[in-house]
């Protein structure tokens, strides 16, 4: 069958150009958010079935609740005691797996005062659906 394929080539060119743009933009944003500021306070987060434990730099521990200061950078060091969990603060788009035997890091800086949900996003068993904690951002 006789047909010319110029339309398909143009179409493929447009698709590829869009994909290159998408990839470049995504790469750039990831680069921007990847590195924590130097003065970020480290918070050790330990996940276990089915609760969250937080340890501040000064050694104070919290279970099921996390108190942070507004406009201050925090770097979470995540690990798990038993199975894989996923530390997620949907409001601040913070999300990373807590894997036993590993320490994963993610950082953010809360810029609004209030109470926010912390939840587990990786299936971890019986009470996965209710493995929640509360993030309380306070003004200083």
């Amino acid at each position: 069958m006789a047909h010319s394929n110029w339309a398909e080539w143009i179409y493929l060119g447009v698709v590829t150009a869009l994909l290159v743009y998408v990839g470049a933009e995504a790469w750039n944003v990831e680069r921007i958010i990847d590195h924590a500021p130097e003065d970020a306070e480290i918070i050790k987060v330990t996940a276990q079935q089915w609760l969250w434990t937080f340890e501040h730099e000064d050694g104070t521990k919290e279970v099921g609740e996390l108190h942070l200061k507004k406009d201050h950078a925090y770097k979470f060091e995540l690990t798990s005691k038993d199975v894989i969990h996923n530390f997620n603060i949907p409001e601040y788009v913070v999300l990373l797996d807590a894997v036993p035997g590993r320490v994963n890091t993610v950082w953010f800086s809360p810029n609004e005062v209030g109470e926010f949900d912390i939840q587990c996003r990786e299936y971890c068993g019986l009470i996965h659906y209710n493995m929640r904690a509360l993030l309380i951002v306070e003004d200083v």
């Binding site: 869009l18 743009y21 998408v22 933009e25 995504a26 944003v29 921007i32 958010i33 990847d34 590195h35 924590a36 500021p37 130097e38 406009d71 950078a73 409001e91 601040y92 788009v93 913070v94 950082w107 953010f108 800086s109 810029n111």
Partner: protein
Amino acid sequence: MSKIFQLSIIIVTLCIIPTISLVFAAETAGEYIDRKAEIWNLFFRMMTIAFVVGGVIAGTMVWQVWRFRESNPKSKPTPYEEKGEL
């Protein structure tokens, strides 16, 4: 041929991968950025593209379905039908 292939693998491992990781690991301490705003902005930029492209494709499909359905008064047998080449 397989020699060239092996050689190229070695070159890739020795040169290109360290270069890539050097470039990527430009380890400067980050600045305070609004993570939420950066990510959601990217998301909405992507959604703009997706909906524009989706609109074009869905529009094309709806028009095709309307125009080339056999019950459309303008529809006529395809050349392949007439020649019995289907």
